[in-house]
Structure formats: structure tokens, C-alpha cells
Subunit: 439 residues, 2 copies
Amino acid sequence: MQALLTRPALLASGWPRPRNFPHNCHPFRAESHFSYLVGRQLPGAALWIEPGAARLYATPPDPDDRLWHGAEPSLAELSSELGLEVRPLAELAERLDAASLPPQDPRAAAWLAERLGRRLPPSSQPWDARDAALADALIELRLCHDEAALEQLRQAAAITVDAHVAGLRRTRPGEREAHVRASMEALVVSSGMTLAYPPIVTVEGQILHAQRHDRQLAAGDLLLVDVGAETPEGWAADVTRTWPVSGRFSATQRDLYDAVRTAQAAAFSAVRPGARYSEVHRLSQRVLLECLIQLGLFSGSLDALLELHAVSLFYPHGVGHLLGLDVHDMEDLGDRAGYAPGRVRQQDPSYRYLRLDRDLRPGMLVTIEPGFYQIPDLLSGLEPGGPLERALNRERLAQFRDVQGIRIEDDVLVTETGHEVLTAALPSDVQSLERIMAG
Amino acid sequence: MQALLTRPALLASGWPRPRNFPHNCHPFRAESHFSYLVGRQLPGAALWIEPGAARLYATPPDPDDRLWHGAEPSLAELSSELGLEVRPLAELAERLDAASLPPQDPRAAAWLAERLGRRLPPSSQPWDARDAALADALIELRLCHDEAALEQLRQAAAITVDAHVAGLRRTRPGEREAHVRASMEALVVSSGMTLAYPPIVTVEGQILHAQRHDRQLAAGDLLLVDVGAETPEGWAADVTRTWPVSGRFSATQRDLYDAVRTAQAAAFSAVRPGARYSEVHRLSQRVLLECLIQLGLFSGSLDALLELHAVSLFYPHGVGHLLGLDVHDMEDLGDRAGYAPGRVRQQDPSYRYLRLDRDLRPGMLVTIEPGFYQIPDLLSGLEPGGPLERALNRERLAQFRDVQGIRIEDDVLVTETGHEVLTAALPSDVQSLERIMAG
């Protein structure tokens, strides 16, 4: 890291966030850039880096706290564990001229503002040149995962696969969504991991990030399940499967499911070094659209329908994103990590929700997650008599009313020669899912 | 509430707290005072109350958000649901002269500071007179639970009881603590509730709030389990049981377990309207000390040992605390809720960790949770040759080395005539626990 820096930098880890009173906190999770460089979820700490040197400033254990939380390592012990000079955080009292990055924890933001004599603007606002250089150095480090990171990411993927199998086996008509969620979360917690993001376990798959879990599962429903584990060190997995509550896909569900799976397979095949991610996205759109035309949902030529952004009516989001310490890796930096220098997010319906447009390199980990959703707002928002309304076959669509939402998402590593699906141990074909559900 | 106020007040609900990037938030939980008055976990909202009137200011649903999170009620719908005037939060732009309370969410604190033209001091600092009056009005309301609150608290207690039964049944030598935790959490999540506080599931019971869950369970261990559910509306339960990993208490474990249980029973019996809670605490200390003398751990007269704070060597914390929307109810206000006007926390070892000293009234809900712990720091910290060292029988104590920590905690409602243990459905006697574990 020091080699990439031309000036000092200061990165905070954050403090535990009180939930409803000061001693009742959300589980602590250090800021990702700090975690990446220090490798430890250490509250109340900051890393000072300058060309050729690095020092950790940490909060010494409070003796009065031992009664409640047990013994914590002293700063000297921490220093020898980490192989890094460690000093008390309080020693960092003066004003410092350093680059930094806006933390998620407001207390850390206030602390940094005092140390630096300036407020760090949120990443949606224009960047300070110093901070931009630091962000770019970290992006360069974090874009491609080394072996130690991959080991963590494989562990998260493996537990996530097990959690989905547990969810498949616990799905029953008459239970609530929360029941399936709980069985999956139990597997993650039991392994010592945590959830990388709020789980989506929903019969309303058309709500892309549905957060309710109180619906009852009915035999005809598809259940969309987007759940991923995070290792204690903070590395994430991100996996979605969609399965039938009854244990058997209907013919219409199977048709659309296979369409999404075909689009995913096409996207997989395009993941290799040098490929531009927006082209992977584009390919997934094209292949899904071909399938939808074959199913009779659209009439017209492929090219004309692509021009109309027809596929975004049913697949409005991007094919995926970076994955690493964050489930949308480095999204705290806005699009700075996801979009290569010189590229900006397009606003047309085919690209506006695409979070990544870089040329792929070995060691990058991305999700591949096409979907199909019947979203009332989109379906009712077409221009009456317009070209897309004319191309859409609503009578045919009505036959697919037992499909609210389907998403299939896997974690795909770019290798030297192509790609490796880290979550391949979890099947996604109709037959295998049905077999797992049958026990 | 308005009747208790002499001037306007403004209470914020808080915003979702980003975990590692802006779109990945901790589960939202509204500030408790807001929840209490509005009855709804509404992010980005504030309640304006003045004598004779109340208005809710809320964030209107963002149409772009529907794609990701589904439809949210409009402000008009919210108004008719809540029976309360609702206006957009942005309308509260001017400076307001109002009382308020310091929220846990720093974003809400900053928002309030702007609205009020002043920063609210944390509750550990001297109070502004306006805010103090508001705090006291809320304390008066929240100290005694009405039927609607009790219904919620009973629900939380019932699910918590079920979770402990699940934990008892899933405890096995060779498993990890996380395995038991996961089985309990699954029961809570499956019911649609959440955890009221970070769960303690530990073979190191001597660490009062142990947060690790990675130890392996050995047949001779006691497992200390402090887990409570919270309803979606935010009401908490708080229950601890301690059980043997093997399914059978050893003779020494049973002796000390029964001592703690005897102290708990004595404390229960003292809970009634008019009783002073510090006396309940004192009684639990006295009874536990009698048991420890009987077991031969101390020699000397009861009164002399009480004078020496002998029991605090093994039972250093308070007998309990208020319970309601917060697991330590209203602890966001410091000791203002727990200590009656004119009473302050004593600093001697018998009382320094006592969170509550009020005269009990019908409708108050408190925990009763004595314990016994072998805490190395306390046991090694005695004055050599001092009176406590001389009174302690270390040879006898060595025979109890298979007891690290025991705590038994139940939720006890003060009734018109005495008390009701809301968590009585979960047995705490040795035989019943062993029977549940045997399946």
C-alpha cells in the first residue's frame, strides 16, 4: 500500500453503533478499507500510512471493561500480533495533513474531520484530489483478490451454498418466509459467520430488495432467496436462487426460469480476462430477450427490441457487481470502483442500474445475476400505443402470472484463462433444485 | 403525553445506519421514545408535540425506491393509519424552540441540532431544563406499562421462552457455542421477531457480557445463555438460563446453581408495589451470601461479611433493571429513569452496578437476575491478608472449579397485589432443565 501512496493517509475503523441505548450496539463491523489493510475488526482505531511507514492507533483496553467483556489484547500484544507499530489513539491529537476516505460511521467521520481539519465530502460529491488518489490506490489493491482474500471468499461461498441447501429443505407451503430465512441464517450463524447483507426471502420477487418476511408461502409461489454469508474477517458471498414453494416448478415457471438460466450461462461464458463487463451485461440482456421472444412475450426483431430497451421491462437491473469485503465491493466510493476511469454510468434503461463497467482482470470477483420480474410500475408505465406496448404480447404474458420474480445469482472469479464459479456447488438447474427439495 | 408537557417537544425516529456502504444498512430500529409515542418503526421521521396537539413529520416515499423496496404508504395513508396529522419532514426547515432528547443515531442528532439551533448534550452531561422536563414526562409514561405494552412484552417473553427450550435441546458436547446461539436465533427470527440485544451464549460465564461464540462445548462445562427477543414493534424480553453441556449438573454445579436460584426466589418474593428495588437487590445479596456461607465458601458472621461486600466478589452486578422497549429500559437517559429523583448510584461494590433504585409500582417490569461467577480479576485482587481474603475459603472454592458463571434471569411484572413472572413458562430448576435437555 505504501508504495502506491505519494502522501500520508489516515483511515478510521469506526466505533460500535448504539442501537437504542449506548450499551446496546449493532454488531461491530470495521470500515472495509481499514479491514482490508489491517486484517482485523478493531473498533476505535485508525491506520496511519505514509510512504515507507505505517502505524496503527488503537484504543487501549479499559480495565473496567474486563468484568463485562473479558480480557482484550494490550496494544503491545496487538502490535506483535499484527507486526505493526501500535500507539494509543489519543496520541493522534494534533491536526494532520493527510488523505482519507469518508467512513460510514458518523462518529468516525466527526473524529476524522477534527484530525484533518476538514470534513470529508460524501463520495457522491466532487473529490478532494488527495482523497481521490488514496481511493484510486485502494481500488487498485482491492479490485483483484490475492490468495488470502480468495480463501476467505471461498469460505463465505461454501457456507452460503450450505445455507441455500438448508433453505431449500425447509421450504413448505403454509410456513412463513421468515421460517426459511431463519433456517438459512441459523446455518450461517452456527458456522461463526454473519450475514453480508439483509436477506431477501420473498414470494414477492418482483420487489428487487424486498425486506418483509411475514408472508405465508403458498404452493403455487416461487420463493426468491438472496442470502450471503460474511466471514468474521469481513469477506462476503452473494447468492440468489429461486425455487417453487411446492417443490415443483410449474411449466410456465420452468420456461421463464430456464430463460434466466440461459442468460446466466451466456454471461458466465463471457467472463474472462480482457472482457468488458458492460458487454457481459449486454450479452445477458440479449440472450434473455431471445428467450422471451421465443416464449412469445415480445414480437419484433431482436435488434429493434434491443433498441427499445424491451428486456429492461422484465430485467431492469445490472447483470452484477464487484464482490469482496463489501457485497457491492467498494460501493462506499460511489461508482469510482465500479467504473473504469473515463467511463460513466449511462442513464438509459438498459444501463442505469449497472454497477460495474471495467475490463475484467484475473483475481476480480463479480456476481452474475440476471433476472425476470413482473413489476407492476414498469408494466403499467408503458406509453399507450407506443412501440414497446405494441411489441409486448400481454395475452401471452398473462399465462405467466405465476411468476412474480426470478433471479439466479452466482459469484464468479476471473481466472487467468477464463472464470471459475465459486458458488458452483449449489446447483441452479430445475431438476437439481427439485431433487434437493424432495430431500 | 401532551397533558404532561408545558412546552413543545420534538423527537426524531432516526435513519437506517449504513454498515459498510450506504445501501447496506443495519436493520432499522426507531429511537425508543419515538416508537413509544408513534407506535411505528418509521425511518426519517420526527414527532412534534405541544400542549394539546401532535404532528408527525415523515419522509414521503421515493417513487424511484418502489422498484427496490416495494410500495410504501403515502403520508396521507400513514396519517389515516395512525390517526395523526402527517406532513413532509422537509417542512420542518425553520429553527424551533422545543425540548428534545439525544438520539442514538448521529444523523438524527445532527438533524435535531440544526432544527433546534443547539446540540443536545449526551445524557451523562448536565441536562438542559427543557429536555429534563421532557425526559421526566416520558419516564413517567414509560415506567408503568399499559395493557397494549404488556401484550407486546408477553409476546416477546413467550418467544424467548421457546428460544431457550430450543437452545436447551440443541446443546451437545463437541458443538460450538455458535450452534446453540443459531438454534435460538432461528426460533426468534422464524417468529418474525428480532434479538433485543447481542446474545450471550458462552462457556465462559464469568465474562458477564461475553460476545464470543466460537468455543467448543465440553461435557463438564456450564453454558450461560442470555438471549431475549424483541417484537417488530420494539418491545423486549431478557432471559438468562445456565445449563450443563452434558445434560446433567455435577454436584458442585448443582450446589451453586441452587444457591443462585434461592437468591432469585427470595428476590421474586420481595417484588410488590411499594417495595424499594435496592432492597430487592440487597435481599438477593443477603440470601446468596447465606448460601455461600452454608457451602463453606466464606467463614464469619453474615453481617460482618455483608459489611465487607463479600458477596460482590462472586455476584458483582445488580439484581436487575427496568425492561420495556429497551432491554435496559430508558438507559439512553442515563440513570434518570432507573433512579428515583433524589437517589443516586452508590459507588461501593455492593451497589455500583445496580441500574435501578425506585419504589416499585404496578405495571413496572423488571428483571431479577442474580448470579455467581468466578472472575479471576476479582479473586486475585483481594488485599493480601485483608479481612475478605481471610474470610474466603479458597480450598473449598477450588472444589467448585467446574463453575465459571451462573446467572438466572426472569422478567417480573409488578402487579396490584405482588408480582407475576412473565417468563415463568421456562423452568429454572435443575430437574426441569435436565428433563428438557433429555428431550
